[in-house]
Symmetry: C2
Subunit: 372 residues, 2 copies
Amino acid sequence: MTGEHEVDVRLSDAQRLDWLRLIRSENVGPRTFRTLLNHYGSARAALAALPDLARRGGATRGPRICSREDAEHELAAARELGVTLVALGETDYPERLREIDDAPPLLAVRGNRAALARPMLAIVGARNASAAGQKFAERLARDLGAAGFVIVSGLARGIDASAHRASIASGTVAVLAGGHARVYPPEHLDLLDAILADGAAVSEMPVNWEPRSRDFPRRNRIISGLALGVIVIEAALRSGSLITARMAAEQGREVFAAPGSPLDPRAEGSNGLLKQGATLVTAASDVVTMVEPILGRLVSMTEAAEPAAAPAAPEPDDAERSRIMALLGPSAVAIDDLIRLSGASPAIVRTTLLELDVAGRLDRRHGLVALV
Amino acid sequence: MTGEHEVDVRLSDAQRLDWLRLIRSENVGPRTFRTLLNHYGSARAALAALPDLARRGGATRGPRICSREDAEHELAAARELGVTLVALGETDYPERLREIDDAPPLLAVRGNRAALARPMLAIVGARNASAAGQKFAERLARDLGAAGFVIVSGLARGIDASAHRASIASGTVAVLAGGHARVYPPEHLDLLDAILADGAAVSEMPVNWEPRSRDFPRRNRIISGLALGVIVIEAALRSGSLITARMAAEQGREVFAAPGSPLDPRAEGSNGLLKQGATLVTAASDVVTMVEPILGRLVSMTEAAEPAAAPAAPEPDDAERSRIMALLGPSAVAIDDLIRLSGASPAIVRTTLLELDVAGRLDRRHGLVALV
């Protein structure tokens, strides 16, 4: 996937530390990180601007900024586990993952990083999968592995474990909801070791992060984001696998589902995906046929990790800021409407929203914003 | 489905006897029957013309014409079993079945003819169905019956029997491959009796016809032809249910399939249908949603069973006949090409082909013709 003649883009150690401090700071998620980086040109400049930004956004106290010591401590803990932090835009960063809006600025990678450069397909499904479902997951993972694809999954019991196990030899990637030192479920530590021989495990969390239930849906966007497509095998209604499928669709990834008996509750979610237009899969060839044309279209889109020069960062004056604030409330409003109704420039509106973001006062969803 | 103010179209006893003789005569199938009726205006006139037609078509002997005695004998045998022969175009003839190209000119009906006037859905599937498949067929038949649909199937073991059993109370129709006195499989005689209380059994064969294996695919076109759509539950590759589904598609009927495990050979055919675009069914509502708009579009299209006056029936002269014959051979040719290349009128070409038909020398398939 990676062109032969690419420049090897790489952050300096100091830059990587700044990136880690910025993404670990309060109210800075992957989207805000990207906005801050574009706005200030570097993580260092963004870190310096955070207190003032938050104050202008109406925060009563500055956001908790990750200290240099904490970041160094995390880097050391990562090194000890053999975990590398790969930055968005670096050559080693997985090519498809960087396309998504909320790609992790730093991806903590353990194992064989080369696996992340190959085309990937995700296989996910029920933890309480049937024997037939697990057998099918194994067959599909083995056949897709033989066809040259790396299999991505979530290291869960059931379908995930079957998919990983059957693709250990050909290459598989486990995406963790917690940190690398807090593998869940713990009984899959041996499986993880086997995966790491030729494959990799990735996480966006600090190595010692204990996964909470809300970290799993958030993690699922990385599973789908890494892959060309997501294959769902045995998913009940309202299951995590359906969240992964929805994220895949939002990210423009192909969604596949294995059919199941209408009487089996474990197939309700996957059959539902088929009704919504997911591609039916009974064999690896069904998947390969769909993704081969996509592979052909992929072009290398490497950019420098940090913009070479800081772009102009216009600051709103008080009148502009209050016109924009007057339009915001607990109900969601489109950013386009904010620009139109406030009469302010898009750059000014973006900066004001960034201030609110960093102050922890903004809820962004699907291009809509609301005060929290 | 039948309008309240329709004229009750009905053949005379003499006409019905002529129809029966014509369709039971050698080389006269449902399509040729229709052509002959259109060409000669009545079955009686067609019967009179058969020997001459066959001779002109190059037959070395006249076609075996069903005698008046044989036809009377069949009618008596039918009466004895409580079987009525309903003619294409008569008010009682099932509305959707008359739309297909090769609708049986006479449908032998036993049981409650009123069931044939209601909207129908076919449920077909594997004889060696799984317990889950049979349970799903029962659920679907019961729910579609409650929604007002009559369930059509083929009285076979497995899915067919489950679908019939679950819709005995709401109305179900069994389509037989043999005659009414030769029910197959014999162990379903009790089931058939239960079906006949409120539903019906239909056949296009003489009452004493022992079904041969090639009669089953032929029968399947009647199953799909009667119905708004065909639902396939558990069909292996190269199974009869797939033939029914193909015929349904050719007849413009909706095709539905229940999903099944990719590891279950009994689901290979039905999953294959889903890949080809069949609608996935896990509940009756999936079917009802698709067919309700069709129900709304259906308009009564009753025509007189026999045309009021015989249309002009141009006879080819020898030069025309030999020009057309020169274009025919063992390779299939389009009728449109025959007309264009021979320079003869469409009516002349049609008559020449009819002669060959009745002489048993023509193979017609999908608008193509070839000499046999």
